[in-house]
């Protein structure tokens, strides 16, 4: 508590020990007042929860976040003391930091893949059989861009290459079972 109050401003601790420069919250409570300190910590938790929720949605569109929920650690509702609130705030800050890192990493991957796709489109012959899935550039669907020879073997021999976008997701029900000739064992009713 005293350590907490010694600073007018704090940086949230992270897993690697390095303070992230993107999470920075003002301290606004009066010194020596526990309830004010708790109120400020709750405000910080609210802010972190809001940001974490927003980044959760963003990350979902980019492949989701890894998050482990310990089913055995289900607490009961209670009035938390400063130490517990600090712990929650620090955990949230750590998760937010990790989530931002993950989103940033995915964004970089998407960017690199988009660049590759542009190069494939400009010079397909240089990127023979290169393949970029839609989900690898942050788009929805099961399709993929692939450099293929025009007219199959002819294109391969002649050096005619182009980028094709596959048709997308397979049908949920398949094409159905092809039916062979019906075999009937009974007598013909007609004639």
């Amino acid at each position: 508590m005293s350590a907490l109050l010694e600073h007018d401003r704090f940086s949230v601790r992270t897993g690697d020990g390095a303070p992230p420069n993107d999470i920075d919250v003002d301290f606004g409570f009066g010194r020596g007042d526990d309830s004010a300190a708790r109120r400020t910590l709750r405000q910080q938790i609210s802010k972190l929860e809001r940001e974490l929720s927003e980044i959760f949605v963003t990350a979902f569109l980019m492949g989701g976040l890894e998050h482990h929920v310990d089913d055995g650690d289900v607490g009961q509702p209670r009035l938390l003391d400063i130490g517990e609130l600090e712990q929650i705030r620090d955990d949230l800050a750590e998760r937010l930091h990790a989530a931002r890192g993950r989103v940033s990493q995915r964004a970089d991957q998407f960017e690199a893949n988009r660049l590759l796709l542009e190069r494939m489109l400009v010079e397909p012959a240089r990127y023979r059989y290169a393949r970029v899935a839609l989900r690898d550039i942050g788009e929805r669907g099961c399709g993929a861009y692939e450099v293929r020879p025009r007219l199959g073997l002819v294109g391969m021999l002649a050096g005619w290459w182009h980028v094709k976008l596959s048709s997308g997701c397979p049908l949920a029900m398949g094409r159905g079972v092809s039916r062979g000739p019906e075999i009937t064992t009974g007598r013909c009713a007609s004639s």
Binding site: R39, S46, E49, F56, D70, D73, V74, P77, R78, L79
Partner: protein
């Protein structure tokens, strides 16, 4: 709610809790129990509510004001909303899992309609177990038990609970004590709802109103 002949009362909140959580509020009311099944109209309403949810809408639910308010409050009181889901998210997950909201009886349907329509949870108690002074929220003390009877377990002190002057009916946002739950023998039902900071009072009132409306339209 006047047209339905009922009006909600504001429950008490322990002063220390009110200081810590200014938006914390409990409203309650008592209605006559309607024993019966849901009408086809209620089942259709549940179908309609099911159609509001798609995968992405459930994912983004936590960014909406009311579920977010409850998620934040859960954090404030030591619950992890990813482990103990807030009621609206829990209902949405059930909807995705089951493919739709299924009718499970008039009372449960009424509570579900209120929750999905407003995002505000409503709980029901057998009114015979509720003290005339009404419901409220306080922290538990040594010797408090969840419910009444031989099976009522002791609660750790310092827990937030929904109580009346005599009994603890449930932990906040938890299931109501088995002995106080609504049964077929219940004659009157006490409905209560809890709002937290960020949840407009009108949503609380609407949740209770919807619940009463559905209960009164049962077969």
């Amino acid at each position: 709610m006047e047209e339905l002949g009922v009006s909600a009362a504001s429950g008490f909140v322990e002063p220390e809790l009110q200081d810590e959580f200014p938006g914390l509020r409990l409203d309650w009311l008592t209605v006559e129990a309607h024993d019966g099944r849901s009408t086809s109209g209620i089942r259709k309403r549940l179908d309609g509510l099911s159609n509001r949810f798609r995968g992405m809408s459930v994912i983004s639910m936590r960014t909406q004001p009311i579920p977010r308010a409850y998620r934040t409050f859960f954090r404030h009181i030591g619950l992890d909303p990813d482990a103990t889901m807030v009621p609206a998210e829990a209902a949405a997950v059930v909807r995705l899992r089951d493919g739709g909201f299924r009718s499970t009886g008039l009372l449960r349907d009424a509570l579900l309609v209120a929750l999905v329509e407003t995002g505000v949870p409503v709980w029901a108690l057998d009114a015979d177990h509720v003290d005339a002074g009404g419901l409220g929220i306080r922290t538990t003390v040594e010797g408090d038990r969840l419910g009444t009877g031989e099976l009522a377990g002791y609660l750790a002190p310092g827990r937030l609970a929904v109580v009346d002057r005599a009994n603890v009916h449930s932990l906040l946002f938890g299931e109501v004590a088995g002995a106080h739950a609504v049964t077929k023998r219940t004659r009157h039902i006490t409905l209560f709802s809890v709002a937290v900071e960020g949840v407009p009072v009108i949503h609380l009132e609407e949740a209770l109103w919807l619940c009463v409306e559905v209960l009164s339209s049962g077969e």
